[in-house]
């Protein structure tokens, strides 16, 4: 939904992200308002204070649905037998799964 805002400095292009560049993203279906006529509609506000929504979010204010993956380098390679048992030949990808993180702290 927030993709409809075109005043976002992180967006590469100043279109609405709705799949076209015409004014259709000013429709109510997008919930956002591009010209500020109705600021209260600009950002959907989630008022529920449960689950993850009541936690401090270090990324608060950043655009949603944006992710990054650092470029991997060829380093710290396991010997084949160890890689087989660890499920990866890359030590950097051999991360513990603890069944928590995110909302499951």
């Amino acid at each position: 939904m927030q993709n409809c805002r075109n005043n976002n400095p992180y967006m590469r292009r100043a279109n609405c992200g709705c799949g076209n560049n015409n004014n259709s993203c000013n429709s109510n279906s997008c919930m956002a308002n591009n010209d500020g006529r109705n600021p209260s509609m600009a950002v959907p506000v989630y008022r529920e204070r449960s689950g993850c929504s009541d936690r401090d979010d270090a990324l608060d204010g950043m655009p949603i649905a944006m992710a990054y993956v650092p470029w991997q380098s060829w380093r710290h390679i396991y010997e084949a037998g160890k890689g087989f048992h660890r499920g990866t030949i890359f030590e950097e990808l051999d991360l513990p799964f603890k069944g928590k993180g995110g909302c499951n702290v």
Binding site: Q72, W74, I77, A80, F84, I89, F90
Partner: protein, 93 residues
């Protein structure tokens, strides 16, 4: 390898080594998909792929082909495909 040529290698050991080499090859393949010019990764791929092929041939020589690639005439004078243990069966030594 010379030791293997003189005596029948342990089936379990061979399968384990084939598993290790195969996994290494599969994992480095994924890396090469995004880093096609990484020479160290290419070297790693060729080294382990060569080792895997050698192990598969070695296995086929004594126990029959694991894949159709090693189902070559020199393996046997008959069709042994169904005589070998299936993947879910215990191979044993």
């Amino acid at each position: 390898m010379n030791e293997m040529q003189n005596s029948k290698p342990c089936r379990k050991d061979l399968l384990m080594q084939i598993g290790h080499a195969s996994f290494a090859v599969d994992d480095v393949k994924l890396y090469l998909d995004t880093h096609p010019r990484d020479q160290e990764a290419l070297d790693y791929f060729y080294e382990h792929n060569k080792k895997r092929n050698q192990l598969l041939k070695e296995y086929a020589k004594y126990y029959g082909p694991l894949t159709v690639d090693t189902a070559v005439p020199s393996c046997s004078d008959r069709w042994n495909w169904i005589n070998e243990p299936w993947p879910w069966q215990e191979g044993g030594c």
